[in-house]
Symmetry: C2
Subunit: 491 residues, 2 copies
Amino acid sequence: MSDLREELNEEAQVPADAEAPLRALAAVQGLLQQYRQADETAQRPAPGEAASDDTPTETLTPQQLLLALKAIIDALHPADIANILEALPPPERLLVWNQVDAEHDGEILLELSDAVRESLMAKMDREDLVAATENLDADEIADLAPDLPRDVVEEVVSALPLEEREQLRAALSYPEDTVGGSMDFDLITIRNDVTLEVVLRYLRRWDRLPDHTDQVFVIDRDDLLRGSLPLNRLLVNEPEVMVEDVMRKELLTFDPLDDISDAAHAFERYDMVSAPVVDAAGKLVGRLTIDEIVDVIREEGEEQALSKAGLQEEDLFASLLSSARNRAPWLLLNLCTAAIAAFVASRFEATVEKIVMLAFLMSIVAGIGGNSGNQTMTVIIRALALGFITPSNVSRLVRKELLVALVVGSIGGAIAGFFAWAISGRFTLGVVMMAAMMLNLLVGASIGIVVPLLRARFGKDPAIGSSVLLTFATDTMGFLIFLGLATLFLL
Amino acid sequence: MSDLREELNEEAQVPADAEAPLRALAAVQGLLQQYRQADETAQRPAPGEAASDDTPTETLTPQQLLLALKAIIDALHPADIANILEALPPPERLLVWNQVDAEHDGEILLELSDAVRESLMAKMDREDLVAATENLDADEIADLAPDLPRDVVEEVVSALPLEEREQLRAALSYPEDTVGGSMDFDLITIRNDVTLEVVLRYLRRWDRLPDHTDQVFVIDRDDLLRGSLPLNRLLVNEPEVMVEDVMRKELLTFDPLDDISDAAHAFERYDMVSAPVVDAAGKLVGRLTIDEIVDVIREEGEEQALSKAGLQEEDLFASLLSSARNRAPWLLLNLCTAAIAAFVASRFEATVEKIVMLAFLMSIVAGIGGNSGNQTMTVIIRALALGFITPSNVSRLVRKELLVALVVGSIGGAIAGFFAWAISGRFTLGVVMMAAMMLNLLVGASIGIVVPLLRARFGKDPAIGSSVLLTFATDTMGFLIFLGLATLFLL
């Protein structure tokens, strides 16, 4: 029974309802506020030295508050502790971090965003880092390794059993965005020439099965993968049946160098919980599980949203300097493109001098071209991500997008033209406005199609950087087309 | 053994490698192209009636091509067939759809995007729809129900066993974005006062366990949830142990009315595969599984990307009309805000008339303000989504974002000011440019913070619509500030 208890305690603490972590965060923030006040009071002792005895009972000492804080933290799941750390400004974050049981440090670091993890690891000394890392699995150590000092990694590696040392070396050898970079080594393997009864007895010898074990892998004497026995089949078939007769022989396997994002699509499509990873020789080397895949999917979505705004993941309470460093490059890039567009427009100074109204209308042409191109680009990037675009349908797609731009451009152009006519009293200006709008929507649609397709063609993420190019094109061309037509027809 | 075979065949066909679906799509497109050509040839018979006998052996007849197509399709997983349908233009899509075995229609419809599903269902007659729907589980029928004609739903409902009819009614009663709208009813329940041996024997009576069964639920005589027995614990403990002694008593449960997106965060944080759904009385009513959660996470990411461009999910080959209808409202909305901004700027016609260079510089001020505000907004929306923003840290966050805008604005403003000075030769214009940039970056940061916070406060999705307001504010205020300062200091 004591074994059992231990096992139960080993499982991380999941709360009884989904709101509990929010309440814990609020409680922690409340305690921290009291702590700040208590700390200030302690530093400015009231006149009269016996004051510490007279402290009203409802006011806790800083030490008591820290104990209360620790009690809350200790009851939480590592992922919830990580979330609390993310939501706290640096000094309080460090205070809470110091209350965490050292044995959970590693699990929590794994759950943190890169930025916050780095900031906490920078404050840990060598000993703490070794302690936090040494209890982790090889694949988890590999995740933390890039942020660890070299000598800490070496110390942890040298303490590992030979098998895990090799796993760690393997995990470190694969890039982050590959299957190999996300796989784990928690494999249960069996042979095909035994009965299910034998498998059941074998499993009872484990203290607990690895998380997300929905199948055990069937290998031969050379570690080559022969199939898999889903627990489902293990449980519904009679014990005397042979593994060979009920195992799944046709399996979706991944290569360690496969793109993790392709693997995520496969997990999604086929509703998998785990999948085997085999090397080129067919040898089982690892396992991919749905929890890693969920993280990949969420991170991809976040990264896309951030990269569209020209950002990298950022600690919510990053220092002023590091925030500014994260944001300035994008703004300076946009400043350059905007300056070039403005410079192009300024070549028509003589035209604008004569018809000042053009100055106010030209930004409409540029803006709507950008909006429309962004729609096209979003549609194309989504279709590329889902694998819907193939050589045989791409020309049809291009035609369709250009036609849509033309239709929408006619409607929008007519309205904008009418507005221009109304505000300026010049009919020809209205016509120029309409023509410029339509043409600039075509520019936007073309860039919105071509840029993501080309980036995807050359193996780049189609989302990143495309929007700068789009805005640059629709601004510059918008000014050029509108002011050019105006110079031709209005002067 | 025949039972076993049947079970194996029931499982959907997962390919051996992740690239297989792409090859299948290419093969289908190739066959369709041949079919189109063969079809055209057949309609324009060559002179000489005996031509059909002389057909070279390498050219297949349209019938043979359709058979080849069907052979490819039949070997695919429903999710892969759905993907192929999404990637085909409407006439070919329908052709492929007609080759699908009617018994798989339902599963495929469930995997399709709303737009494509609706288009295919519109082409199906009553009988096909009933056939496609009647073999699905209650929760799956509920997913299709909104697109089905009322009488089809009624016919399907009336054919269901009583229990499933009630499940369907329950599933239909919950909104799509709740736990109830995503749960299934594939529950395996056991009692707490039996041994694991009894549970193992009970499970052997099933033909197969429901997908994603990683735990069986322990209920009492009133269907109240008492705990859960993870298969993990069932397998590692001795058969004579009682369920009561090894079951998990502290469980994260969901209410059918909980927000599905909160549930997704919980699955992500606690790495769950399934979770029980209980009603207010504590009665077990359903089960949430990771495959539904993965879909939710992916859809949320996609919806956010689309809504930022003012789009709804759209069939890649939607008709011109429906595409234009999807995109025009957003562009017209942006046209309105751009026209208002232009109108505000035009109030300074007299100023611009005197210094035409202002016309070209004002768009830089507006644009960079929008870019910077978008960065702030992206950071805030992400922090809101992750639950990092609380009443106790919000003022700190606001202060930080405004300071970052000020720092970045000083750098960008200095550069832009220098550019303005260089291009115009007027030092004061450079100073006005710099001041306007800094002020407009503050406008952008304020809107980028306040709008998402307010929308979240009132229970709206903070991402939707925020960007229109942002662009409107940074354009209008950018023009106003820049031209206003110019009027004050340059005339």
